[in-house]
Amino acid sequence: MLRSFIEFFSFSDPNVVYVVVGTLLIGASSSIVGCFTVLRKRSLVGDAIAHAVLPGVCLAFLLHGEKDPLILLLGAFISGWISIIVIDLIVENTRIKTDAALGIVLSVFFGLGILLLTHIQKTGNASQSGLDSFLFGKAASIVGADLYTFGAVAVLLMVAVFAFFREFTLISFDPNYAQSIGMPVKWYQLVLSSLTVLAVTVGIQAVGVVLMAALLITPAVAARFWTHRLWLMIVLAALIGAIANVSGAFISYAAPRMPTGPWIIVVLTFLAMFSMFFAPQRGFLSKWRKARSSKARIFEENVLKLLYQLEEKDGNKKVDRSIQEMLKRRDWKHSEVKAALKRLDRRALVTGQSENWRLSQEGRMEGQRIVRIHRLWELYLTTVMKVAPDHVHETAEVMEHIINPPLEKKLMRLLNKPERDPHDSPIPYAEDDI
């Protein structure tokens, strides 16, 4: 394994250089265009185009009679391009929805392509062999001549995206606004679609018809988890695409039985899954942790509130309250209360041990604050919003955990530092004593 790693990345074998540079260019260029297709919610258009290029390739071959790569590419480009026009035509003129239109175009074009391809194969034309690299991809056998095509396309795509960055961004995020400021939205959409077709025509030769969609979609999806900024997303997607493509090429170099295209997709998917789980902020894990910690905070506040209410009831600050006593007042689990109390103990908001606890001075202030907000909010609802007093408790239960000190102050000033809530309970202030 290590030896093939060194062999591969020392680039002593010119074939390895071709494959690495080739897959790198394809990976990066399709990822860049893919960001826009994904943001425009047209991910599967790439899949449709990938299938739709086949009849163009075959017709180009039939008309031209030999396998000139540029003529084949042209054929592929034209039929891919027609396919998007047809999709739009169907969606705009009938009641058929986009998903079905995609499926129709994808499968009928591909069926026609297969018909033509099998027809060509049966004619016994010797130069036809290799046409099926448009079906399955041929990443492992990229040769020097291919690099010029791949390179040219990659450069063209990057230049176009760079030149029209502002326009593409606008039509991806807010086509209605773009229209309203007089931008020729349709035209830019057509340019963007044409670039997608171009990326697909080239990319398909690396991974094949079926997997092409992933080269467009997956890097963009992965990159989306890491950033909100579009240009950064594009750079990341290109990087992810490049890494996956080179890894795929390496795997099939180290284990020659292994196909390159599918491994590229597997690596891409793992990178996307990794991003989905571990990306900061948008990642699954970080969202889950945030949800858990806010749930824990709310519970702790509720425990403090309850302890404060118990003190309020009998006016005694110097006595421990047992967890059992608390459970009588609330529908909580013993273990979660105990865990919350231990966490509060660490923050010195309560004192005591195992079953018996009381508030510390800071804990008292905190519990009092929650109760205060709760009652202020209830009063606000009944006096300002004219809500019936028996309907205010539920929202107050939520708002007591949300309202921050500045808002609390405003609320207090608005209500003129009131003394009683709608249920005639006193509204406690920090300077008051129980």
């Binding site: 994904v38 919610k41 047209r42 991910s43 599967l44 790439g46 899949d47 299938h51 169907i90 003129n93 009938t94 009641r95 058929i96 929805k97 998903d99 079905a100 995609l102 499926g103 129709i104 994808l106 499968s107 009928v108 074009f109 591909f110 069926g111 026609l112 392509g113 297969i114 018909l115 033509l116 391809l117 099998t118 027809h119 049966k122 004619t123 079906l135 399955f136 018809v209 079926v210 997997l211 969609a213 992933a214 467009l216 979609i217 997956t218 963009a220 999806v221 039985r257 292994m258 196909p259 295209g261 599918p262 491994w263 997709i265 597997v266 998917t269 996307a272 989905m276 948008r282 699954f284």
Partner: protein, 290 residues
């Protein structure tokens, strides 16, 4: 006589696949799930390969079970990615099926010495060989194995749709109402997905993974342009499927090319005709009325 029978069996099998898929397709396109059907038809591949590896045959119960569970898994993963992972729906579909298909291809490559499925057959099937594989002989007539299997498939799917018509219909057209009167939307959803997976895997040998999509979507969409009455749509989609199998077969013979490809092409022709000339929803009717 032999030659005539060849034609007959191939057209019959083509029609059976077309009808089974068309019926399911009607529900798929009305539920806006056409591309989920596409995804399933690709992602059953690893299920087929693993089950084939375990059982040693392409048309065994293991393979059907393997593929159907993969089909259900696909729908489940797509929903998970979408609802829990925050991946938009279209991207979730693309992500899922490409990955599973890639895994399938890798499994084929890893066991290439032991398996006789290749990528070609994945893509366009071998409907032309159907008459060669005789299943049983009744009254001196040799009946191909696939003809029997595909008849069973058609029977199973039409029975399912007949018996579950109310549930499928309600959850397709008015899921909220269905929920309100206690019809389990999720159950019918997964049942439909299971049926699509089953249809895909059974049709796999004859028409291949990708062209199943044509059979699922195109006749149903054609029928959708021709009628507003759902039972008529089911019937019309079957008619389109049969017509396509018939004409497609002779187109393939004429061009000496793939039969499944030719049938899909003819479906495209019929769809184009409906697109242009459908009485109410067609292109010309709309243009002329405005």
């Amino acid at each position: 006589m032999d030659f005539w029978f060849n034609d007959f069996w191939i057209i019959l099998c083509g029609s059976l696949v077309a009808m089974s898929c068309a019926i399911l397709g009607c529900f798929l396109i009305l539920r806006k799930m056409a591309m989920v059907g596409d995804a399933i038809s690709h992602s059953v591949l690893p299920g087929i390969v693993v089950a084939f590896f375990l059982s040693g045959s392409l048309s065994s119960w293991t393979v059907m079970l393997g593929a159907t569970s993969l089909g259900l898994l696909t729908t489940f993963i797509i929903e998970m990615l979408n609802k829990r992972g925050g991946v938009q729906a279209d991207a979730a579909i693309g992500l899922t099926f490409t990955f599973l298909f890639a895994v399938g291809v890798i499994l084929i490559a890893a066991n290439s010495g032991n398996l006789h499925i290749d990528q070609d057959c994945v893509l366009h099937g071998e409907i032309a060989y159907i008459p060669l594989d005789i299943g049983t002989t009744i009254a001196g007539i040799e009946i191909p194995r696939q003809a029997i299997i595909l008849s069973v498939l058609f029977f199973v799917i039409s029975t399912l749709v007949y018996l579950g018509y109310r549930g499928l219909f309600l959850t397709t057209f008015d899921p909220e109402y269905a929920d309100a009167i206690g019809v389990k939307t999720t159950t019918w959803h997964y049942l439909l997905m299971a049926a699509v997976s089953l249809a895909t895997v059974v049709s796999f040998e004859s028409v291949g993974a990708i062209l199943v999509v044509a059979f699922l979507i195109v006749p149903a969409a054609t029928a959708y342009l021709l009628t507003d009455h759902f039972p008529s749509m089911l019937l019309l989609s079957c008619v389109v499927g049969i017509l396509s199998s018939f004409t497609g077969y002779y187109l393939a013979v004429y061009l000496d090319g793939s039969i499944a490809g030719a049938i899909s092409t003819m479906m495209g022709v019929f769809f184009s005709l409906a697109f242009l000339f459908a009485p109410k929803h067609g292109y010309l009717a709309k243009r002329l009325s405005t």
